[in-house]
């Protein structure tokens, strides 16, 4: 029983979490033998996943004004409590 590219790409994501059955794994293997596009997608997916996992902060920062606003709100808040 063959699977479609849409199913194959879905199985590729499920495989990542070990959530494919033995049959699905076999179907995926059979699909790769005849579909170079999904095979390519699978390689690219691996790179994508490792990139997503390694995303780090790129030096994003709040502006001086934004910081001043927060400080002001905190001070007002404290006064309101007291």
């Amino acid at each position: 029983m063959s699977i479609t590219c849409k199913q194959a790409t879905d199985y590729i994501s499920k495989k990542e979490e070990g959530k494919v059955t033995l049959l699905q794994r076999y179907q995926l293997w059979r699909h790769f033998a005849v579909c170079s596009l999904c095979k390519l997608f699978s390689k690219q997916n691996k790179l994508l996943v490792s990139s997503l996992k390694h995303t780090t902060a790129q030096g994003e920062a709040l502006t001086t004004n934004e910081k001043a606003t927060i400080i002001k709100m905190m001070e007002q808040n404290k006064e309101a409590i007291e």
């Binding site: 994501s13 902060a57 709040l62």
Partner: protein, 190 residues
Amino acid sequence: MSLEQQQKDAAKWVNDYSDMLYGFAVQRVNDTHAARDIVQDTFLAAWRNIENYTGEASVKTWLFTILKNKIIDHYRKTSSRSAHELSGDAGQQELFFDSEDHWAANAYPKDWGINYDNRIETKEFYSILQKCKSKLKDIQASVFSMKYLDGLESEEICKVLNITSSNYWVLVHRAKVQLRACLEANWFMR
């Protein structure tokens, strides 16, 4: 503690930790405005509950605990706003697959001509990745953040977002296909 002392601390907290907290939030929240609001709310919540701060954990740890809870609240909100994303509607997916569920001719993945086993390290790539992520639907971005940045299992993600496992797989699949195409167009084959 005198009011003056506390005010000094307010400034110190914000100057010492706001960029760190913002950097953490902005990677996880698909929207810089929302990330800013979350950081602001974090400081205000910490400030209001300063009596509960026992000093056992560092201020940084304490602030991050509050921040993480606020981020989870944000994830939940993206889910409750996205009921229509969870319906069976194929939407964007139709652009990528044809009527027989094979790759549509104009969406064939292209070979990027690189070694796929080598991770990409350049800053520019990660800024494009962030841009492509920001084009995803909020709930898709939430799933990706929880899954890849926070390392949560799919069962936990479904619980936080209150979605079924089949919802989850549809979200992951669509987001993957879309993100791949965006990176291909804006980085690998630009």
